[in-house]
């Protein structure tokens, strides 16, 4: 059975701190790993990672994939209260089938 496990499930830090969110996966026919930020109802796309060891960056956010150890991390530096959200990790299978398998998310709370 495919599964995606995120840790920690919740995290409370102070503004300005750096956080690292973890995602491990066991998915047959793995193709890519995606990170989403979910505020209120709808997730918004952050990164898609397909190649191992290549860091993707967007402002204060960065992410990297390790296809040998089957995990990815999402880093957020100099956190701001607006970063408070649930961060979802999802594994995409190849072959155009089955869609995404999501983890349960990490609930990140940034305190001022």
């Amino acid at each position: 059975e495919d599964k995606v496990v995120q840790s920690p499930l919740s995290l409370v830090v102070h503004e300005g701190d750096t956080v690292t969110l973890n995602c491990s996966y066991e998915v047959t026919n793995f193709r890519s790993l995606l990170w989403y930020k979910q505020e209120k109802k709808a997730p918004t796309f952050l990164f898609m990672l397909t190649s191992s060891g290549i860091e993707k960056k967007s402002g204060r956010l960065s992410s990297i994939l390790d296809k040998k150890e089957l995990f990815s991390i999402l880093n957020i530096t100099a956190t701001q209260t607006g970063d408070s959200a649930v961060y979802l990790c999802a594994a995409l299978k190849g072959g155009g089938a089955d869609g995404l398998t999501f983890g349960k998310g990490t609930h990140l709370i940034i305190q001022p």
Partner: protein, 115 residues
């Protein structure tokens, strides 16, 4: 519109009634997904449409759930004889071609409450 549109945004229904949830994907997107997010749970895959191919219904939790996609565009998710455990946020996503390395865009979801 520019994004994925879902309606209604909120729906309260009595147990046992049928409900229909609608999703308008981004124009030109051939792949469309329905997901469900229950309180405290991750996103649960329900059903997937890719072009004119038969949909992948492997995630539908029971035969009370069905979905169709007319003309390769608008999709409707129908829940018959709703139960309280059906209460959740139902999310729709679309992408250009699934499995082709393109991201999925999500709608704002429909919050369904069964009382």
């Amino acid at each position: 519109g520019a994004g994925v549109s879902q309606s209604p945004s909120n729906k309260v229904t009595e147990k046992g009634k049928d409900v229909e949830l609608r999703c308008d994907p981004i124009s030109g997107h051939t792949a469309l997904y329905w997901y469900r997010q229950s309180l405290g749970q991750g996103l649960e895959f329900l059903i997937y449409f890719q072009g004119n191919s038969a949909p992948d219904k492997s995630g539908l939790p029971s035969d009370r759930f069905s979905a169709e996609r007319t003309g390769g565009s608008v999709s409707t998710l129908t829940i018959q004889r709703t139960q309280q455990e059906d209460s959740a946020v139902y999310l729709c996503a679309s992408s250009l071609v699934w499995g082709g390395g393109t991201e999925a865009f999500f709608g704002q979801g429909t919050r369904l409450t069964v009382v």
